[in-house]
Point group: C2
């Protein structure tokens, strides 16, 4: 769970990054609202279907969450906010336009809060807020992206909880899988175990493939059947209140890895170690990628590593920083990054291993503990 | 699956409902885009996390879908559109603001398409489309809501497919549940069976409760344990490309219903039948509700029926028409409605039974076939 002090500190950090004339911030993307209030509508109930929320922050510290009445259970868990809750539907009258209702209520709240410049998420801010409010509007986008990149302790705890749940789901599925399962069975096993480990319904998404599916690097689960001795590649995320862990592992279903697979595994894990060893504040993101590529190049395998070495993870997936050859980013304290080198050889096999780290003042701390051996 | 002819006919219907000076329609809500193009990003892959889409329709019939390159697999399945796909991320450079990229590309496409009035979904349309395009903007909201209410054949087929999958998941869960299962086990069973029946990952959400949870009318699944002889109330939806079925049933886990439960069941099913018998074009929505209430009132049970008799279902949940006491709506051909009377008596038990119908020229046609007996 995020903490109220964490949410308040993120709001203050955001205002500090904005021009001092800006008195109000209007947040409309689910990620930004979750980031500084913990508000997240569960996708597992009808109440959240097609719902909208607006969060109005004031430099004074005031935070006003505007949602319709069906979102009351989620709003009740938001941290350090007052809630404005227009009635959208109460089983008495026919309901009107749900999004318009919330946007209109947010407009009214903004008018009541009075003059001052406003910063909004332009690309995610509904029109009426511009055309009717008539005050200077600034784009919050870049400042918000920067502020969101460095994770606070409560955010990292939340991501770590996602990893714990995902690890239990991976371990159990790895222990239970048998020849004859389909890729969909792999997904269903992981999702079921994740719900059990979480003690609530959680979203699970990612790559669930076996056999030739591994050579393609991943994909959604299909009816492809796992055979004894097949590779199984699972790269998935568990989502809690908008935050997600993202990790990967590859293993053999009832069998020993071939000599070629073992060589690929050794190379992947060496690339993982080499890239992980570079993780520290001040490190150019491109150099983390270069460290992984170097290992593969020494084994003449670099042509079989077609993707990034890793990426930031949190409310977005992927998000900054990006561990890619032409990144201009530099690692900083509070970054949470995954490292996921992989090799995919047609006719032979494909595999990927992924762990995650937070960047600390002295280097890095690994957040994941799942098994990454064939 | 929606059909291309269905999508084209919905676009034409939408333009017919707008002033003739309006040459372009800009759709930005996932529901509206799914409605007239079949485009729906799967929530089960990383590619869709935080993604945005814009669909630009022209009165001439041209339809341009703007999405970033990670959404290519979903865009490939969109019907009767050309696709504009700016590169957001290709594992080479660090990625920029994903939503801004798509909004900017949509703006450029609008400029290229040239002059003419534009209609947008105001409450869901990003600011830059207003502040930069500088052409008259009209709110599409009411016309869109009206156009969406009457379902086409391909939409009803899609909703029916959701019901088929949900029915298999309900049947299997009902057959398998044993004392000692938790409500979360009920959810996991339904979700797992729905994935199996669909042959792909599908979203499942709703009420999964037992025992006293039924007296509350529903709620998300918890660790509450099912005991022999308990009532189990399942009210859930399966989502396919944005469309959903929504139905409910209540049953006893390993045991016979008590005399009181049987009386409640008889009343609920009589209310369901009475309300369903009123379904026809021209029927005031409030009268459908009144028909259900009348049955309960005759049994002196009306105080235990606190909610609507039913509602429209499709891309929204709930959506028009609303079967409630103060609705001004009148049923029309193409409406898809559920009817779900329920009774909740503290210390005794709670139950709800829900079926769905489409309104046809001569009356109605039932879309659901699941068992609704204790």
């Amino acid at each position: 769970m995020l903490t109220e002090s964490g949410c308040r500190s993120r709001r203050a950090r955001l205002f500090n990054a904005l021009a001092p004339t800006i008195d109000r911030v209007v947040l409309t993307s689910p990620e930004a609202i979750a980031w500084c209030s913990g508000f997240a509508a569960s996708p597992f109930v009808f109440r959240s279907q097609g719902a909208t929320a607006v969060l109005i922050l004031s430099r004074s510290g005031d935070a006003r969450l505007v949602v319709d009445n069906l979102q009351e259970p989620f709003a009740a868990r938001a941290l350090g906010v007052s809630v404005e809750m227009p009635v959208w539907y109460r089983c008495v009258e026919a309901a009107s336009d749900r999004r318009a209702l919330v946007v209109d209520a947010a407009l009214a709240a903004l008018r009541e809060l009075g003059a001052g410049d406003i910063a909004v998420e332009s690309a995610h801010c509904p029109l009426p807020l511009a055309s009717e409010i008539g005050r200077p509007m600034h784009d919050l986008g870049p400042a918000l992206a920067l502020a969101r990149r460095s994770k606070d302790r409560d955010e990292i705890d939340q991501i770590s909880r996602c990893f714990e749940i995902a690890t239990q789901a991976l371990d159990t599925t790895r222990a239970n899988v048998r020849p004859g399962w389909t890729e969909l069975d792999l997904y269903r096993s992981v999702a079921e175990q994740a719900n059990q480990a979480a003690g609530e319904t959680v979203s699970v998404y990612g790559d669930f493939v076996c056999g030739v599916g591994c050579e393609a690097g991943g994909g959604p689960p299909t009816s492809r059947v796992v055979r004894a001795g097949d590779l199984i590649l699972l790269d998935f995320s568990v989502v809690l209140q908008g935050y997600r862990g993202d990790f990967a592992s590859t293993f053999v279903c009832e069998g020993e890895p071939s000599r070629e697979w073992s060589a690929m595994e050794t190379a992947c894990l060496a690339a993982l170690d080499a890239a992980a060893a570079t993780l520290r504040p001040g490190q150019p993101a491109r150099d983390v990628h270069a460290a992984a590529v170097r290992v593969f190049a020494e084994q003449h395998l670099a042509d079989h590593f077609p993707h990034h070495t890793g990426h930031g993870i949190g409310l977005g997936h992927p998000e900054a920083p990006f561990l890619v050859p032409q990144s201009e980013e530099v690692l900083a304290v509070g970054d949470v990054v995954t490292v996921e080198p992989g090799l995919y050889q047609p006719g032979i096999g494909g595999m990927r291993f992924e762990h995650a780290w937070e960047i600390t003042p002295t280097g890095s701390r690994q957040l994941t503990t799942h098994k990454t051996r064939l």
